[in-house]
Symmetry: C2
Subunit: 332 residues, 2 copies
């Protein structure tokens, strides 16, 4: 089942207005949710929308709150998200990082006391649209065991890097676990094994079985000890730069809210205006695309390449939806 | 066989002076090499030293060259390394990023036309010693196949994040391949299998055999497609921000030289001076250390924790050396 972009957008808008959002904020929030589904990231688009509304009703998300500046150190600003909607807060913060970068070359906004930003890639595409290079990351509740241990004490801390490009931006959007719970559930529904090890079974053996990993909650960090270390560093950076909650502190709460994020932008106008630099990007991409494939149906993609294909397809044919979740939103 | 710090330092100093370095630069270069071995990173300390001297003799490294500022955009500066010694250039650049951060909150130095920085962690420890949070990364020659392909068209692009801490800094220093060639060779010498998959054999099967991987040159990026994507992004950032050589362009040269690097610093004085923030770090570390171990001899370490143990041990007992390589240096 597919739903046109405008139809999905209008439904989200309707529900958000009903929940009490002012019009302008409802419009942006609906747009960000719809764009995530449009780009194929259903887990943080339509499929997450009911949970987002539940968080509002629980009082974890204050729909009227906006970020407030707490401290300024030159190109580095510390903001308090006041528990506003995570995607609006993050969109604002990346916008502010872009503004700073346009003035001073580099801009960094450290945001505390905010909420789940939904799809991290959103803010990468946003920065690239503004002709900026960007790095951003968030911490999360403890949902991943660190390397060497079995209980969840680090976050999967999504990490985003974006580079603007005339022929379609290059955007990496990845969490620190090899697979997300959403991805594993989708393999489970299709009764398929994961293509590579995704975690441990309850006996402590590496496994490709999504059922076993979901039961044990022992997801694998990317690169084993390396992703575990990177997750620890991202948590330190978000919580220290923003003076906000660490993964540990978020874990002390009843549910996941009030997280910390960092948005770093590099001014693209001076840096990337020349055709010389566009040529460098194309040269890199051509070189990568020219790699001998590892199998008959394999090829090498650059980060974000398949997103652009999905976006185009879904614009034309409508956005695929889970009928049950779609029905749920229609009834909201 | 172990050698005291001062003895190793003096040998490096002697060889560098003989090679024509001026005294001050020879001293810093010798110190950086010795510190890498002291911290247990032999591959980029003693074991790399003869190769460093070879690169000088080949003319890839200009021992008298220093970085020159090319362009300034506020907190972002672009420097040309003039093919100077990679560790001196990188040390200078992180120093400059610290200076900028101390003035404007964030500092970014993009360095082109430089050389192998040896141990990346060096510049993380340097920034943390200056009470700064830092992120830095370098590109390399093509030495890793991107996900979906078999020939080496991306770099293993080392990536470093550092956080200053009163009780010992937290420093992550990782390349994008699951194992380095040096690490695999050491497993091979000990006739041991890798603890996890490190790459593909020539038939395209994932394997823990270091011999097979070294033969096929099909090393595995961390997290499969994720590390592959991250390596591509780091190459884009280094070459675009510095307007320097990409991994593709470095691959066009006869050997690996003239690479691109980025050094980002966040001012630590305002951010981390308070005991509140030191407490946050200890709380995060205590939480991670409290994870139930995954096995009898397992425990969770934070990034850099074991480096501090090694550093202390080697200060006291001397630095372990490969006798053949040590002899080679003595005869230089």
């Amino acid at each position: 089942m597919r739903v046109p972009f405008s139809k999905m957008y209008n439904e989200f808008l309707r529900v958000l207005l009903k929940a009490g959002f002012v019009e302008e904020r409802a419009a942006l929030c609906a747009q960000l949710f719809t764009e995530s589904s449009l780009d194929g990231v259903h887990s943080h688009g339509l499929n997450r929308f009911p949970e987002f509304i539940r968080h509002i009703k629980k009082g974890y998300v204050d729909i009227h709150a906006s970020p407030e500046k707490v401290e300024t150190f030159g190109s580095l600003e510390r903001w308090d998200g006041n528990l506003g909607p995570g995607n609006l807060n993050a969109h604002f913060s990346m916008g502010r990082a872009i503004q700073i970068a346009n003035k001073t070359g580099v801009g960094c906004v450290a945001l505390r006391n905010t909420n789940h930003w939904m799809r991290g890639g959103t803010y990468g595409w946003q920065a690239a649209d503004a002709n900026c290079i960007a790095i951003c990351f968030t911490n999360t509740e403890p949902n991943l065991p660190p390397w060497g241990g079995i209980d969840c004490r680090i976050g999967n801390n999504p990490f985003v890097i974006a580079v603007p490009r005339t022929n379609g931006h290059i955007v990496l959007d990845m969490a620190m676990s090899q697979f997300s719970y959403g991805k594993m559930e989708s393999y489970m529904r299709n009764r398929e094994a994961l293509p590579v090890y995704g975690g441990f079974d309850y006996k402590g053996n590496l496994t490709c079985s999504p059922d076993e990993i979901i039961k044990s909650r022992r997801l694998l960090p990317i690169g084993y000890w390396k992703g575990s270390g990177l997750a620890i560093m991202l948590d330190l950076l978000t919580s220290l730069l923003s003076k906000g909650r660490s993964t540990y502190m978020v874990g002390e709460l009843k549910e996941e809210y009030g997280v910390s994020q960092v948005f770093i932008c590099f001014n693209g106008i001076h840096l990337l205006g020349s055709s010389f630099l566009d040529n460098v990007i194309e040269e890199i991409i051509d070189f990568i695309h020219g790699t001998t494939p590892s199998g008959e149906n394999e090829r090498v993609y650059y980060p974000g390449e398949r997103t652009l294909v999905t976006r185009k397809l879904n614009r034309e044919k409508g956005i695929p939806v889970d009928p049950l979740i779609w029905q749920k939103v229609l009834e909201m």
